[in-house]
Symmetry: C2
């Protein structure tokens, strides 16, 4: 490959297009013939499966049990919680018929349903219906469940992984006897997500409450995890909602308390989705492709046999296979290291670049000289493409897991450094605020300052037009509040709340 | 519990009703407000997750990669393969709108789609579309993929797990350069299913080809795995289809062969579903509830502390916890034994019966005397409810995995003995055949002979009415054919084929 970088355009040249190209070059997913839906390919699904496995363990370890609820929700269920309908009515796929028939040579829907069914955009309403039947007394609480499912939200502008009409996710739903308990649960979920994001996906996050205008439809409090992408935009990586008694009232989720009185339960819900794969691409990718953190990588190591002459093939292949077998005996994060030997008949450069673009953590080249020296040439994906280490077989075997650990940490460090570098604390007024969010270069409208941490007066009504003019949103009111007093960066009024402002996905 | 058996009615009294009651008593799943769809509860989903994990490992170990395709299929895709449409048109959920709006105080579907979308009943057509794009040359073959997904087939008469409008399954889809390769793949899938059924679910199966009338819509050959339930009916537990070039022609899945010529690929598809949970219930359940084979059990052992006096509680709980911790250090099938200590405040009898009905493999009671003697009382679910073993702590710890193994084998042995006992080889003509399948007791129409293995002439047209009159079907033409000659059990004509006849789910 003659080009200096494998992905064209580079991030700097055109970030949105770089995202599409990097994703394509890694063969993660592609658009399907169904509007807004994607086909998730093996490398992309493998990453999602690892995210799933990591989070599922945490969900179970914190006392939640997995269940599965129907894909369809009766229209009348959706109507019960007014703000919930309002939030989802515009993007619902509706099933109206349950049969097809040939008519005039064309296949047409027939057998109309008495009540249309919605393809779930989220499952609060149908799960709440079961909660109302399952919960009788305080002894049945807390009720802690989770489901892994596909959901559909009809989107007009879609982007692979970031915003698709169908996506895969997990949704936790819980009911509690007290507000305190339910609010504690919201924190438990947020902490699981923080660990998933920071420790497995190597993406640093800021946790905080959403301001009123940004809450989940029907929620009292929404806690979100916000991450910075490499175009300095924020991506909401996960949310955890305290629903108060809103859904319990709408769906009659009552219990008998210890005094024999009826009370409405306090419910929560929380979810993360395949969007996290998009977050990973945008937080770590470079101009040679995506970079997959070892803890979520479908494969950790690829061994690339180098065969200068045909007669060397059998001995190099045998050496590569032996090396792979030995590497698989080493443990990484409690499981065997996943090693692939790529014996395809392809030019070495092309093969190598395919794996670089896929972001595999370690590439190992072995040729006749390595066989002779009992050695290997090792490339780390977190380092520049040409930087290599000459390791003896023994060194490689005893250090493979450490190398993976080091790459994992490196990605987190780099992402955190990037975020910190583009987070501005000193902005005093709306004029400075506007200029921070205004692209310096008109040809690259997507490049702007990044995150602003500043005081906010809390007045949604007055703030909204000032923010909308710049296409900026309040991402969250971070958990760690300074407690100081100052002036609102938007209105100049007295203000105590620290808020994070950013453009967002 | 005073009753002699925990489940009423017993299997003998009313098998279909026993199934519903056993399922309910185990808290596996329940009907949902959405017609024909079920809510799968933690114990039921836990079993499915273990089935999934077991099979997923086999699927990956045989070179298949997981992917995810859209839930929706454009109507025009379904039309491409004529017999495929015919097979599924009558049970398709159709999405026609993508928005809801308030109109006269009611929420109504709006924004009609240009082309209606089908909720996938199976994914041959949408996956075939991608295959036609992905496959260029023989070097791209075989293409071996699988997806775990929900599918919808609109059923009018549903039964939890056995026949539901929405169910969870896995569908493998592969493309090959030659018929031989594709037919080999069909066998690979069938063998994975056999291992899953016999080794994990402890359900013995007969593998064979379906006769023409029983094939998958669009298939050239359908291989199925047939199991006998305890009402002597057959349940089709899994299928693996050789689709020939039918779908490849319909969807233009072509490749360039080594001679540079275009050829159509040979494709296969294969699937098993949540129906397997129903198979497990009906193959192993007894009149005290379901019995879960240890290899798919969400929990292996429950420890039930027996507290005769309140002051004994803390020492018994501590002993139970310690015992649980030690048991968890033992490995069963390469993973830790899963142990639950049930400390709920419930009468001992009720608690015990709950776990019997859930079919947990081992129950362990510990009381003050056991604490003193460093011992425990152990109950195996494959033995009668009152049969117990007094084991020292040490005996228990060193034998727990062996006990689980023994229970697993016992279930398989019992199910196989039942099937063999109710399989008839000696039936000579249609008169005997009719009497075998005619209930001896008119009050129990579901009780009949079981499986018949007999000669069949292969004439579908003539056989059909003779079979339909008795509600009997040809389950399969078993893999192991005797090669002998004889007379067709239906028509009396000369016949060489061995066939298995049974009533079926």
């Amino acid at each position: 490959m003659a080009a200096e970088h494998a992905i064209s355009p580079t991030r700097e040249e055109d970030y949105p297009e770089w995202y599409q190209q990097a994703l394509k070059a890694a063969d993660l997913a592609e658009n399907s013939p169904v509007r807004g839906c994607m086909v998730i390919k093996p490398w992309g699904l493998g990453i999602w499966e690892n995210i799933q496995k990591t989070l599922d363990q945490k969900i179970k370890a914190t006392g939640h049990e997995n269940v599965y609820f129907p894909l369809f929700i009766p229209l009348s269920f959706l109507e019960k919680e007014a703000s919930h309908v309002e939030g989802f009515a515009k993007e619902c796929a509706v099933v109206t018929h349950h049969r097809l028939e040939q008519k005039d040579g064309r296949l047409v829907p027939t057998a109309e349903l008495e009540e249309p069914l919605i393809v779930r955009p989220t499952s609060e309403t149908i799960i709440g219906d079961s909660f109302s039947k399952w919960i009788k007394s305080y002894r049945d609480l807390p009720l802690l469940i989770n489901q892994w499912a596909n959901v559909v939200r009809w989107e007009l502008r879609t982007r692979l992984f970031l915003r698709t009409s169908e996506f895969l996710w997990q949704e936790g739903h819980t009911a509690h006897a007290t507000e305190e308990d339910a609010r504690q649960e919201v924190e438990v979920a947020a902490e699981m997500y923080r660990q998933l994001l920071e420790e497995a996906l190597a993406v640093p996050v800021i946790i905080g409450e959403k301001s009123e205008g940004e809450r989940f439809p029907g929620a009292v409090t929404t806690v979100s995890l916000e991450a910075m992408m490499q175009d300095r935009k924020a991506l909401q990586a996960g949310t955890s909602h305290y629903l108060g008694q809103n859904f319990a009232r709408a769906q009659n989720i009552q219990f008998l308390n210890a005094n024999g009185e009826h009370e409405y339960a306090h419910t929560t819900s929380w979810g993360v989705s395949t969007r996290l794969v998009g977050a990973m691409i945008m937080a770590h990718g470079d101009d040679d492709g995506i970079r997959v953190p070892p803890r979520v990588a479908p494969k950790h190591i690829v061994i690339l046999p180098v065969i200068p002459k045909a007669e060397a093939q059998s001995e190099v292949f045998a050496y590569a296979d032996r090396l792979a077998a030995d590497l698989r005996k080493a443990a990484y994060q409690g499981s065997p290291i996943i090693v692939h030997v790529d014996k395809r008949e392809l030019r070495g450069g092309e093969k190598n670049w395919q794996w670089i673009k896929k972001g595999i953590p370690l590439r190992i080249e072995v040729g006749p000289r390595d066989v002779k020296n009992d050695a290997a040439v090792v490339y780390r994906r977190d380092q520049s493409v040409r930087e290599k280490m000459f390791l003896s077989r023994e060194q490689l075997l005893s250090n493979a897991a450490l190398l993976l650990d080091s790459i994992q940490q490196q990605y987190f460090k780099q992402a955190k450094a990037y975020r910190d570098e583009h987070t501005q604390y000193g902005i005093a007024n709306y004029e400075e605020f506007r200029s921070f969010f205004t692209p310096s270069n008109q040809e690259k409208p997507e490049i702007h300052g990044g995150f602003v941490v500043a005081k906010w007066c809390g007045d949604e009504r007055v703030s909204r037009p000032l923010l909308e003019a710049l296409k900026v949103t309040i991402r969250c009111l971070p958990r760690e509040q300074s407690g100081t007093k100052g002036k609102c960066v938007l209105t100049g009024r007295d203000a105590e709340i620290d808020a994070i402002f950013a453009k967002a996905y």
